[in-house]
């Protein structure tokens, strides 16, 4: 059994849970540990889109017109794909300008226009109040139905006296909840973390409830989906709900409804609130753009089964299809499930009402009430010290008023229309924001007057084609108005304006309102010039991604202000403590020790204005700031705007000049880098051709001798051996060459392994001389070594050092005159480094050759006529190694008097980090130390 008290208790317990969650969320936010700062909560909070209109109304719509109900969810799914492009831009713009509502966005974009903000607010309120009424109606009628449990009785169209219905109490309870959590304190960013947490929770509840009912209906009342559709197939009137048709949904209606809901998901005030204002981090969009559509699928999966089951179950048609979600569990005698479904519907309705009224109250307060109050001089608001209380009370009052309006609408008109119709009318109203906002963020040319024209034209057409007919159907208007048109003018009939027929009412209204809206906006914008504020705002919005930082954007402002005045002004609306701490933060960001020393410049004025905009809207903020900024009295006169324009042009041209100078410098740098790259590229080509040439020489001789051996099998053994000997020697040379090329490339690219240890150089020299002694003896060359008694160790790779020493010694042996050759090796201290000299008494090296011997494959002498002595890589490798150790390798020579190769090894050397960019692969040997 479901008693009345149990239902009430459950309802209030549920609201209590919401309260607790919201309270916890706010506390966590105050402690700086946000619970809503994750993409899943963000996506769930977006599901505030699914109201009781979804929860109850989808089934009703599916039962009435078949598949058409899905458009309301397919549109948002498609739109979600564009969120990364469109919504992210809106979020970015709103954060930068502290925009807190749709009306504020529109006003701010078109030159901070008070008029436009007010108009947008009125459209939002008029458009959305019926939608709020719809939620109240859903809650109160679901309550009435559940109270009858277990009897399924559709509440009669009874005329309860005003202020004595359940809906009133629902409205009151919701007003209290919203006021407590929506307007606890005034924040410059208008974020409500606790509320968002509660909304996310509500999204879970309504989905769970709906799916529970769906599963029950499909798998308990019937044996699965196929079974259910099988029954439905026997009923021709249900059969036609399964396809498109003239009686149900036409393709054109389908397309229009999809388009409509695409706009609605962006521009419903509550969607703007959760998606933009309450957004913590724009990267949450990444997950939201697929999680949200997934949620929509989940909540739509069972709509059709429930609709069909309801139609089959209550086949005499006395139960309203809008209530099937509730009445089916009742008919199945499931009290717990019924209660759960009721709570689900309650959560869908409360979520919508809470967010919607908060969003609307911000709008009404900032864009409608405050501008008016600030203009009424007799109130002397400008002189009051603290306005925070006033602001909060305006918002609280607005929330109460909105719910009261919703209740009144419900009372006088609510019973006359199916739920879904009202929802679509609201959608069409907020869709009017589409052109001015989307145009505003992508097209700089949109002007204030254009936006005013477009919005008002669209709104008027909407009211004429949708709102008036709804009123007429409620009996507030004579029905002849619909049938014959006003004053009997047939062409002006609201449901077929200018004779347009063949579309359903919504599609018809959407077509004409968009026609006049977009036409007016674009047409008038193109005909009028923007003033300076409009122009600067347009640039700011459209080029939001180009802005380098907050400080760099030029401020088109001129005047004098005092820091105290500005701080006091902000304090009046935000509270003095809050204002002070904001100014201190700002000073710290700019690196200024105290607020008193802040320069009262354009940046500061802009900062104050943005702070204020968060609290009272962009248009009012502008008016307020200009009241303390000396040179700008309330009405901007013509001279001032001309001055402003000039200063803006100058600022622009200065910036341009600076930019072009920077550009020139960058170009020059690039050109230099490019030249260097080309040079390196050329060197690389040279090197490769040299390598291949060097490789070919031994290969050619190997091949030649092999061919001789192959062709002349009858060569005598001595000849054969001689040739084979040459082949072996040339192969060895080839191997050595390749090894050295690899070695060099390793060293140069920084990939070589260096095994750095402390090495006693004397030992190394001794060992190298020992190793060369056999070769020296063969050529009868004498080697003398001169080592000091004691040298400090140096940190080098011992094997690499040996490689250098052996290379220098074998070179010396090679170039000594045979028979009386003499080589002197000397080790001594040379100003902080060890120095090794290897001198020979050979022919010496000509001055012009001293440089090139360190180049790769360069050997002294004529390589064409003389047989090469080595690979031509020994010295370049040695120099690379010594350079890596931090030392130098060079040669001194007088032709005819021998040559001295010297290198140094510093005692203390941190191995240089290899820089392959500067010394690229196989490159180098150009520096000569």
């Amino acid at each position: 059994m479901l008693q009345g008290w149990l239902i009430l208790l459950a309802s209030f317990a549920y609201l209590g849970v919401l309260f607790a969650i919201a309270y916890y969320g706010d506390k966590r936010a105050d402690a700086g540990r946000s619970i809503i700062s994750n993409p899943y909560v963000y996506a769930l909070s977006l599901a505030v889109y699914c109201t009781s209109w979804t929860f109850y109304g989808s089934v009703g719509r599916a039962a009435g017109s078949g598949i058409g109900f899905l458009t309301i969810y397919i549109g948002p799914t498609l739109m979600a794909l564009l969120w990364w492009v469109v919504l992210r831009k809106i979020i970015r713009i709103s954060k930068a300008n502290r925009i807190t509502s749709i009306a504020d966005f529109v006003a701010s974009r078109y030159g901070k226009s008070t008029l436009l903000g007010g108009l947008a607010t009125i459209i939002a309120v008029v458009g959305v109040v019926p939608y709020i009424a719809l939620q109240l109606k859903a809650v109160s009628s679901s309550f009435t139905i559940v109270m009858q449990y277990p009897d399924v009785v559709t509440p009669a169209e009874r005329a309860a006296p005003l202020f004595q219905e359940e809906a009133l109490y629902v409205a009151l309870a919701l007003a209290v909840f919203t006021i407590v959590f929506g307007t606890r304190h005034l924040d410059a960013t208008e974020r409500h973390e606790g509320m968002v947490a509660a909304i996310a929770f509500e999204s879970v509840v309504k989905l769970a409830a709906f799916v529970a009912v769906g599963v029950f209906v499909t798998f308990v009342l019937y044996n699965g989906v196929g079974d259910l559709f099988g029954y439905a197939g026997n009923h021709p009137e249900l059969q036609q709900l399964l396809v498109f048709g003239t009686d149900t949904t036409t393709y054109s209606d389908w397309a229009w409804l999809t388009f409509l809901s695409m706009l609605a998901i962006m521009f419903l005030p509550r969607q703007f609130q959760v998606a933009v204002v309450e957004n913590v981090d724009e990267s949450h969009l990444n997950k939201a753009i697929w999680l949200f559509p997934l949620y929509l699928i989940a909540i739509n999966l069972f709509v059709l089964p429930i609709a069909f089951a309801g139609q089959l179950h209550f086949s005499n048609g006395d139960v309203n299809a809008d209530t099937f979600v509730l009445t089916l569990p009742m008919a199945g005698q499931r009290p717990a499930l019924t209660l759960f479904a009721f709570i689900g519907g309650l959560s869908a309705a409360t979520g919508m009402v809470i967010v919607e009224t908060i969003a609307l109250s911000t709008m009404v307060c900032n864009d409608l009430v405050m501008p008016v109050l600030l203009r009424i001089r007799s109130l002397r608001l400008n002189e009051r010290r603290d306005l925070t209380g006033l602001l909060l009370n305006i918002r609280r009052g607005t929330i109460g008023l909105l719910l009261l309006l919703g209740y009144l609408y419900f009372h006088f008109a609510g019973e006359s229309k199916a739920l879904v119709e009202i929802g679509l009318i609201s959608f069409a109203a907020v869709a009017q924001f589409g052109p001015v906002i989307l145009g505003g963020i992508y097209w700089k040319g949109g002007t204030r007057v254009g936006a005013l024209t477009g919005l008002s034209a669209g709104f008027l057409v909407w009211a004429y084609t949708l709102l008036l007919p709804a009123f007429a159907q409620s009996g507030w208007f004579p029905a002849t108005f619909l049938e014959d048109g006003p004053f009997g003018i047939g062409l002006l009939r609201p449901l077929s304006l200018f004779g347009l027929t063949g579309m359903d009412q919504i599609a018809h209204a959407m077509f004409w309102s968009m026609f006049f809206n977009i036409g007016g906006y674009v047409g008038v914008s193109l005909m009028r010039r923007q003033n300076i504020v409009e122009h600067s705002q347009a640039t700011l919005f459209v080029d939001i991604y180009d802005k380098v930082g907050d400080g760099s954007a030029p401020r088109f402002w001129r005047g004098t202000a005092s820091v105290d005045d500005l701080c006091a002004l902000v304090g009046r609306f935000l509270g003095h403590d809050r204002a002070n701490s904001a100014f201190v933060d700002y000073a710290q960001r700019r690196g200024i020790p105290s607020v008193r020393e802040l320069p009262a410049d354009a940046d500061l004025v802009h900062f104050a204005e943005t702070l204020l905009a968060g609290a009272i809207g962009a248009a009012s903020a502008r008016v307020m700031v200009s009241s303390v900024v000396k040179e700008e009295p309330l009405g901007m006169d013509e001279v001032m705007s001309i001055l402003n324009e000039t200063s803006q042009v100058i600022a622009y041209s200065n910036r341009l000049e600076q930019k072009s100078r920077e550009l020139e410098a960058a170009t020059a740098e690039l050109r230099a880098a490019n030249k260097q790259l080309q040079e390196l590229d050329r060197l690389k080509d040279d090197f490769i051709s040299t390598v291949t040439h060097e490789l070919r020489t031994p290969l050619t001789s190997i091949r030649a001798f092999s061919e001789i051996l192959y062709d002349h099998q009858d060569l005598d053994i001595a000849q054969r051996n001689k040739f084979l000997g040459i082949i072996v020697k040339e192969s060895e040379r080839l191997t050595r060459l390749i090894n050295q090329v690899l070695d060099l490339s390793k060293i140069e690219s920084g990939n070589a392994e260096w095994n750095m240890t402390d090495v006693d150089v004397r030992e190394a020299i001794d060992e190298a001389v020992m190793a060369t002694s056999q070769l020296a003896r063969e050529k009868r060359v004498q080697i003398t070594v001169d080592l000091p008694d004691n040298v400090p160790p140096v940190t080098v790779d011992r094997d690499r050092l040996m490689q250098v020493l052996l290379n220098l010694l074998s070179n010396a042996v090679k170039f000594c005159y045979p028979a009386d050759g003499h080589i002197a090796v000397r080790l001594y201290d040379d100003s902080g480094a060890l120095r090794v000299d290897v001198s020979d008494n050979g022919p010496g090296i000509k001055p012009e050759d001293q440089r090139i011997i360190f180049d790769k494959f360069r050997q002294v002498g004529n390589t064409m006529t003389e047989k090469p002595h080595g690979t031509g890589l020994g010295l370049p490798i040695s120099r690379q190694i010594i350079t890596h150790f931090g030392g130098k390798l060079w040669v001194n020579s007088t032709p005819g008097a021998g040559a001295t190769f010297s290198f140094t090894l510093p005692y203390h050397h941190e191995p240089a980090v290899e820089q392959p960019i500067e010394r690229p692969l196989l490159m180098g040997g150009q520096h000569y130390g």
């Binding site: 397919i74 794909l81 559709f229 753009i289």
Partner: protein, 65 residues
């Protein structure tokens, strides 16, 4: 920057693809009183396209991080 731009383009392309699949004339191909596993063809089609769109979105978004 580049991945972000690719992601943007892919999502926009998917949007147009979705518009195409969710509209006349493609819808009319499935507008017939048939059933698959007892479920009307048109519903199977709409939900199938819907799921595919979400799947592709996940691939696009989660891949580019």
């Amino acid at each position: 920057m580049r991945t972000s731009n690719t992601k943007k383009q892919r999502l926009i392309a998917l949007f147009f693809l979705g518009c195409l699949f969710f509209n006349y004339p493609l819808l009319s191909l499935f507008n017939a009183p048939h059933a698959i596993l007892g479920i009307p063809l048109l519903y199977v089609y709409v939900f199938f396209v819907w799921i595919c769109l979400i799947g592709l979105t996940i691939i696009i978004v989660e891949r580019s991080g």
